[in-house]
């Protein structure tokens, strides 16, 4: 595949038009998951396990079934027992459908507090909940294991007897209970460490956190009399939901239609099924549509949070700051089923530095918590916290400026990644220099108990399949339909790319999101891929439209199509420049020259532009309470090409604040029996508007030649460096090194007091 030649000047890309779906959102008209209603709809509720680890001995649903107002009750017995089916998701890995099915409703064992055991459909949600509480489940309690190190210890309680721990590219070996291993290496670390003038080794632990999307999970399902299923839901991927439902319920994929409603946040947590199959089977059994809503407590208890970790790392450097060796061991919670973020977590730990000798070991560890799900850049935040604070320590020891140190070691275009292949176009050096030149970096920090910290972060991103349809209306306006749910403004960024390619205005394009019957297959809106990959599908469809329209112009002028020159929405006769149609004019002639024009493209682009960022933060710490106040925050990020700069800023600011919450406050508290104690947003404390200052976003652009306008994904990397940047600033302010997340006031105070005594 050839690289694109990116135009020097862009007309629409880089501007800031208003999103066409915005009006509905500011007026409350936009339909999110729970805003959808059908006549004679029932409401479903789930009975969830109160135990973190137990065997189900029996379930008696008779009292629930007899409760007035109840129309259907289901348990795992009402679902087919599928053989292990794997969905291939390209570079995103594979999904074990048997695990997905078991996660939706427990068959033999429950693996976490909140694991679904049964579901009830009734006239309203209150009745459904009351009836569900009448279902009697006989459990045989088992010991839970709640953190990675306990789970990997000898004699740890084993979650899955049939779990075959393997290692990446090595045969399965039952070396550890509950964990499989991943190894990557480059060069020879023992030689490398011998050459080092300074070696530091540190350990870190980070707690489980949740994506915290404000809208919870909601599904409405209708089993049609003819066995055709329709599902309306808030999701990052309508095709993923469809495929997973088909496999879990053993239905043909074509029998299921999934209609994506507006999505109130996802960040990786709404990429697969939870209550969807329950709603479908309840609908089948009751003969009525069924809506199911997971409330906040259920969402926190029973939907994929993001891994807690244990990390041990070793870095070796020369006195001039050259990194010569790095060893990284990271254990990442997988939750109740294998397949957590260990691969991206370890692969991004060091990738942004050019280190000749690297040894990486990652563990995917089963624990009695919900199956872990991506939270923006999965696995990367804890890894970055470990490495960037160690780099800060090296800088201090060697008395080197933190930017200069990173410049000395920065990965540049063509350098070998630990994954083996050379790094594509990347602007890491430019980012670091931008930090140095910025007023924030050069300003005086001022005041006691204040400090400044820097962290440098990396994330991959992905291509994966996307579909886009373009249809030209006879008045010259254009319909754009893509398969990518719009989490944060991608309707407008796709419409802008279509406008750029076609040579028309974004206001002439009406972008919509299709359901699984109305547009071609699209992978989820994840991995910072939509503006990139769906953008390429849009671009390709636009080229097809232009080619078809050129043929029509050639027909009208009775010339060869080769003689048509297309210039920014105008079609010209090369041999007679007087002859010219605007896009609108030619659109008006389509009916008379053969009929309407439409084009579809399904692209799986491979030229992914990696994401790179640096975060600079000033903070003040209160020595009496341990509370941190963030005073100033500047995030520098490479967007490749910012299609809509305001939205790019928004991604940077939003991801940064999530990272700040991860750094300072957020964690899951489980008691010894494995019950989640903080199941409300009061006690799962996310940043409020008062907790953060303005976040200044500095957008740099090293174009990605894999995209026609140079676009890189931007959505994920902002969450990667805040924790490390804040930890480094705290050291600068108070001389203490934190090695755990979150860095709560209590923990900071403990550390401050232990240092002074």
């Amino acid at each position: 595949m050839n690289d694109y030649v990116i135009p020097e000047k862009l007309r629409v890309v880089g501007t800031t038009p208003i999103r066409p779906d915005g009006h509905d959102k500011v007026t409350g008209r936009a339909k999110f998951g729970d805003d959808f209603h059908l006549p004679s709809m029932l409401h479903g509720k789930v009975l969830r396990s109160p135990h973190a680890h137990a065997r189900i001995k029996s379930i008696d649903t008779s009292h629930a079934e007899a409760f007035p107002g109840v129309h259907a009750v289901v348990t795992a017995a009402d679902f087919p027992k599928i053989t292990s089916n794997v969905i291939d998701a390209g570079e995103a890995g594979q999904i074990d459908m048997q695990d997905v099915a078991d996660n939706c409703i427990a068959r033999e064992k429950v693996f976490y507090d909140g694991h679904a055991v049964a579901a009830v459909a009734a006239d309203n949600a209150h009745i459904a909940e009351e009836a569900a509480n009448l279902i009697q489940v006989d459990y045989e309690l088992l010991d839970p294991v709640m953190d990675v190190r306990s789970a990997m210890a000898d004699n740890a309680p084993v979650l899955h007897d049939d779990f075959l721990p393997g290692a990446f590219l090595a045969p399965t070996e039952k070396a550890l209970p509950n964990a499989s291993k991943l190894e990557l290496a480059m060069g020879d670390v023992s030689t490398g460490f011998d050459e080092a003038d300074i070696v530091i080794e540190r350990e870190f632990t980070t707690e489980t956190v949740h994506q915290g999307y404000i809208e919870t999970h909601i599904v409405t399902a209708q089993w049609g009399a003819n066995g055709m299923v329709t599902v309306w839901t808030t999701t990052q991927g309508q095709f993923a939901i469809r495929d997973q439902l088909a496999l879990v319920l053993e239905l043909p994929m074509s029998a299921i239609t999934v209609i994506p409603l507006e999505i109130g946040g996802g960040f990786g947590g709404k990429d697969s099924i939870y209550i969807d199959p329950l709603a479908v089977v309840l609908s089948k059994q009751s003969g009525r549509p069924v809506k199911m809503v997971m409330n906040r407590a259920e969402t926190l208890r029973a939907t994929g949070p993001s891994s807690g970790t244990y990390i041990k790392a070793r870095l070796g450097a020369k006195t001039d700051g050259t990194l010569v060796a790095a060893e990284f061991h990271g254990a990442y919670e997988a939750g109740a089923y294998s397949g957590g973020p260990v691969a991206p977590g370890v692969s991004t730990a060091l990738t942004r530095y050019n280190i000749p000798n690297v040894k990486i070991e990652g563990y995917d560890v089963l624990v009695n918590k919900p199956k872990m799900k991506p939270y923006r850049a999965p696995g990367a935040t804890p890894s970055n916290f470990a490495i960037e604070t160690m780099i800060d320590e090296l800088c201090r020891e060697l008395k080197l400026d933190p930017v200069e140190f990173r410049l000395r070691n920065a990965l540049t275009t063509g350098d070998r990644l630990v994954l083996g292949f050379p790094c594509p176009e990347i602007g890491g050096v430019e980012i670091l220099k931008a930090v140095q030149n910025h007023a924030h970096y050069q300003s005086d920090i001022g005041g006691p108990h204040r400090g400044r910290g820097l962290a440098y972060g990396f994330w991959f991103g992905a291509g994966l399949p996307s579909s886009a349809d373009l249809m030209v209306n006879s008045d010259g306006t254009v319909q754009l339909c893509s398969g990518s749910p719009d989490m944060s403004g991608t309707r407008i960024t796709l419409a802008m790319q279509a406008a750029e390619a076609l040579g028309i205005e974004p206001s002439d394009i009406f972008p919509s999101v299709g359901d699984t019957t109305s547009v071609g297959y699209s992978f989820q809106t994840v991995a910072s891929r939509t503006t990139f990959a769906t953008g390429i599908a849009v671009y390709q469809a636009a080229q097809d439209i232009l080619a078809q329209m050129a043929e029509r112009a050639a027909l009208i002028w009775q010339i060869a199509t080769d003689n048509i020159l297309i210039d920014c929405g105008r079609f010209l006769n090369e041999t007679n420049i007087q002859q010219c149609f605007t896009f609108k004019e030619l659109a008006g002639k389509l009916d008379g020259t053969g009929g309407p024009i439409a084009a579809r493209a399904l692209a799986s682009p491979e030229g992914v532009g990696f994401q790179i960022t640096a975060h600079l933060v000033d903070l003040a710490v209160d020595p009496e309470t341990g509370k941190i106040d963030i005073l100033r925050y500047t995030a520098f990020q490479d967007a490749g090409k910012a299609v809509h700069p305001d939205f790019v800023e928004g991604q940077i600011q939003g991801g940064t604040v999530q990272g700040i919450g991860w750094a300072l406050n957020e964690e899951y508290f489980y008691d010894e029996a494995g019950h989640l104690k903080n199941t409300s947003l009061l006690d799962y404390r996310m940043p409020t508007i008062l907790d953060v200052p303005n976040i200044e976003a500095v957008i740099l652009e090293t174009p990605n030649p894999g995209h026609p306008y140079g676009v890189r994904g931007v959505g994920e990397v902002p969450i990667v460096p805040p924790a490390a940047a804040i930890a480094n600033a705290l050291y600068d302010a108070a001389g203490i090194r934190m090695n755990t997340l979150p860095m709560t006031p209590a923990k900071i105070l403990d550390k401050l007091n232990s240092v002074t005594h």
């Binding site: 500011v26 729970d34 109130g264 305001d646 939003g654 996310m686 508007i689 303005n694």
Partner: protein
């Protein structure tokens, strides 16, 4: 559970409805009156997605019973604009990209409108203090603060 009859003025319109005593105002607005602009994010007063104005006071509708609204005046997001004419806050949220997924937006708009009714020239600090009960997970809040400041300016200019 016996339903009670409730009468209230909602967005300037006289409404009568039946609700069970256990139903929250949020549930009544969304499920009985189909005013789904007001959202449920947590159902226990911690996120502000369900903000409405009841008798001049900014409240979390999830923490009020439907029957408590009897005889009251309620403004929801559906009542913020004047027909097709957007409130300046709605306009500045649109133009200033003050939202991404848009789910928390109705709550923020109602809360901010209550602020601007009381304080026509709030500082950024005052805006942040006022909106502390509204959670947003997408935007990082930066553009929300700016949108409120911009709307305050528009309203002040109109008043001149």
């Amino acid at each position: 559970m016996n339903k009670q009859q409730v009468t209230a003025t909602i967005n300037g319109e006289h409404k009568e409805f039946l609700c069970e005593p256990r139903q929250s105002l949020l549930e009544v607005l969304r499920d009985e009156l189909f005013l789904t602009g007001t959202k449920e994010g947590c159902n226990d007063g911690n996120c502000g997605s369900c903000n409405v104005i009841l008798d001049g006071t900014l409240v979390n509708a999830c923490c009020i019973f439907g029957v408590e609204a009897n005889g009251g005046h309620i403004t929801t997001i559906e009542g913020l604009s004047n027909g097709n004419e957007l409130h300046p806050l709605q306009q500045t949220f649109l133009e200033g990209t003050g939202m991404q997924c848009g789910f928390c937006t109705p709550g923020f708009l109602i809360a901010a409108s209550a602020l601007l009714d009381e304080n026509s020239e709030p500082t950024a600090e005052e805006i942040r203090h006022w909106l502390v009960g509204n959670l947003c997970r997408c935007t990082g809040y930066d553009k929300i603060v700016k949108a409120v400041q911009d709307a305050a300016l528009i309203l002040r200019e109109r008043a001149l």
